[in-house]
Amino acid sequence: MTPAVLSAAWEGLTLVFAWPNILYPIGGTLVAMVVALLPGLSGAALMALAIPLTFGWDPLHVMLLYGALLGGATFMGSVTAILLNIPGTAPNAATLIDGYPMAQKGLARTALAASATASALGSSFGVVLLIALIPVVAPVIPKIGPAEYLLLAIWGLLAIGTIIRGSVAKGLAAAGLGLMVAFIGFDPRTADPRFTFGTLYLLDGLSVVPVFLGIFALAEVIDLSASNRVTISGKSRVEELGGSTVDGIVAVFRNGGLFLRSSAIGTVVGMIPGLGGTVAAFIAWGEAARTDRTATMGSGDIRGVIAPEAANDAKDGGSLLPTLALGIPASTGTAVLLGVMAIHGIRPGQELMNEGLPLTFALIWSLFLSNWITSAAGLSVAGPLCRLTIVRTRRLLPPIIVLATLGALAYRGRISDVWVAMLFGVVGYLMKKHHWSRVAFVMALVLGSLFEQNLQLTLDLQRLGRMDFWARPSVVVLVGLIALTTFPIWLRRRRS
């Protein structure tokens, strides 16, 4: 890190805390937190809605507001994921796999605290790595191509093998079903429609948000209605609930290795354009499951909360690197940020990385600040919020249905998304009842299109002689990584 970078970082920090600048990140964070509590409404949607407000603003204030909006929504989505099995945003679907079972065990407070801590520390990890790596990594990012994307998708898909419990055939069938759903819509190469049944809705494929809302939230509603469970946690008094906020905070430090690994995954995936938080969260969760020797992942293991939350928040810092240095958005949120920057005449690239570096740092610090504000808010309300798990299900189910339905509708304003959520609610319930892995299904769904698109591009490039797959150092590194993380598990299972 050069003195110029450090000086710009300091200048950026003083800009953020100067009066009245500080109002922008704080105000932005508070708005983002409230919006993120409504499932389906993502930070990116809020960022787009805020664009007309910023006309005539100083570019510094725009950057401060958008840094806050980018970071403010990330953690809050995990609150509904843990408490109600409703993913606030798509990446939080990975958090609920273990977060909600923890709430069912009466450990919601611990899960929320772990999520908030991992979220704040993960974002800090991402930001620090971003600052440290700006000069080193920026030239490398454009060299990452379809072959590397393909291997990342394969790495994530291979994790499915490690999370299947019980019948392997059912697990693989669930993953196959997820892949089939991922392939709905236009063929990425030929632009021919597939499995659309002539409907407009399916032309661009099924969106993951209504599917997640259905397969987790609405399926849980059906399951709770069919079961004789009185409350989500099975307890009726606060005193009966286990866990504590301190337990959740300590758990992150106790699983420091997992936290660092997940944050690194999040930052790296964030840096790679087009992957986004959902892929980061699921790959991190898959990696945690792969190294799980206790076979408790997926059934309320706190590591299953720490890993996706750390990755999802660390990815924000990473995603700013290609966005600001190269003008390549790494996620929907950063795509909107680029659009806003363009509207205000702020050009990404060398200028922003040199003369404009204090402005860049103002954005980064605003993101950093918003992540800490949301996490602090999360920690402070973990206690009161966990009371939701002792509310009688007959009172809780109607609001869950309303919230999930509204979330599906708010996502894109299409009533069809509500029907899809309901359909997948039934599918999810049947999968749960008959022990088909819903996690395998959603992981295949998330990674399927990434796999297909880059498999086709890689094959084309290899066929046309534009790429020598095995001559790429990054390919060798990734294949080695896949072998290193997969082979020992295979060996261990074979021995046992």
Binding site: M47, L203, G339, R347, Q453
Partner: protein, 377 residues
């Protein structure tokens, strides 16, 4: 409602517009169609101030792409000015999917009461009106075009590692091996122009298709995935690596004044490469000129503000006037300039009048692009 245009101007504009229809496929006629749509002030400009037909209403503005992209940016830049002109409230609704098709179909199926409007890729519709396509709506029947906000201007960019700095270099390279072009998919406007230009040059081309967006194609070009691609001039501001690519040919009827592509020849028109260096182009000269003019005309439609088809004439005229008032507001021009977005406004009546002629003019591209698309499939 009054029209500020002399009879002579009207006749001149009409003659230019109707050239393509009257004379057939002659290159001059196609250029005439384009010129008719873009020349001078719009013929349907009105001055009675009748823009408040939807005062107090809430308008759903459909953008068929995700937030942050070019179409979304144009919409959000124009939003406050249209709101002011109409006295209505606009809610931008991003309905992404299938390269804008989902949003376009949503717009075309809405009630034509003015409460659902949006932005379209006009050029994309011209290409998609081919015999293979059954889902693409018809621009003239299923939409009411209210204004053109900007035309598409593309540049063929070459991978610097190929050493290609000019069209002659590209042709020379193609004699040694097939040229590899990078595209998002065979349904994109950039693919149509690339297919037509490489056909014009007699350059054997293979396609790497399936990149998720135009920025990813540019990255692919810089990485060496492909030799050439087609880049929209107005995205230059979002491409920090522009200087690392070699601009080879402007796909425009006249040379762009953009200082970032100085001395780069343009394709069509009397001063275009097709007229100045016809020996570079393959096959029959008349066909080459016709195809070159078709490519230029194809990009003319650019980005359109529109509503569903079948709108009442009174409402249409009012909305058109409001669009014109909003888009010619100096504040909008300044906002677009700051955002690095070019504007080239044409009133809806002019665009509507030109649709059939331009569609006819563009027809030579359809079999060429369809053949190239079949090779990808």
């Amino acid at each position: 409602m009054s029209e500020r245009i002399t009879r002579r101007e009207l006749l001149e504009r009409c003659a230019a517009m109707c050239g393509g229809l009257a004379i057939g496929r002659g290159p001059g006629s196609v250029a005439g169609v384009a010129a008719g749509m873009t020349a001078g002030k719009p013929i349907s400009r009105r001055t009675d101030g009748g823009t408040k037909c939807l005062e107090g209403a809430r308008i759903r503005w459909i953008v068929g792409w995700t937030p942050g992209g070019g179409f979304d940016t144009y919409s959000r830049l124009a939003e406050p000015f249209i709101e002011r002109a109409l006295g209505a409230q606009i809610a931008i609704d991003n309905v992404p999917g299938a390269g804008g098709l989902v949003g376009a179909l949503t717009l075309s199926r809405a009630r034509p009461d003015g409460r659902t409007l949006g932005i379209l890729n006009g050029s994309g519709f011209l290409w998609n009106r081919n015999p293979d396509s059954s889902t693409t709506p018809d621009l003239s029947r299923e939409f009411t075009v209210l204004a053109r906000v900007s035309r598409r201007q593309q540049v063929i960019m070459a991978n610097p590692a190929t050493g290609v700095r000019s069209i002659a270099d590209l042709i020379a390279l193609s004699r040694r091996r097939a040229i590899v072009a990078g595209i998002t998919g065979p349904d994109s406007s950039n693919f149509a122009t690339l297919a037509a230009v490489t056909d014009l040059l007699g350059v054997s081309t293979e396609y790497v298709a399936g990149y998720p967006g135009s920025r990813e194609v540019i990255l692919g070009l810089l990485r060496g995935d492909c030799d050439i691609t087609s880049v929209d001039i107005e995205t230059f501001g979002q491409v920090p690596d522009l200087a690392r690519m070699n601009p080879v040919l402007q796909i425009t009827p006249e040379r762009s004044a953009d200082p970032r592509i100085p001395d780069v020849p343009h394709l069509a028109g009397p001063t275009g490469l097709i007229s100045v260096q016809p020996e570079l182009f393959a096959g029959d000269a008349a066909r080459a000129r016709s195809l070159a003019a078709a490519i230029a005309a194809y990009l003319e439609f650019g980005r359109l503000f529109a509503g569903p088809g079948g709108m009442e004439p009174m409402l249409r005229d009012c909305l058109e006037q409001a669009m014109y008032t909003a888009l010619t507001d100096p504040g909008f021009a300044e906002a677009a300039r700051r955002a690095g977005r070019s504007i080239d406004i044409v009133a809806g009546a002019d665009v509507r009048r030109g649709i059939r002629a331009v569609t006819d003019a563009v027809r030579p591209i359809v079999p060429v692009a369809a053949a190239a698309a079949r090779r990808i499939r």
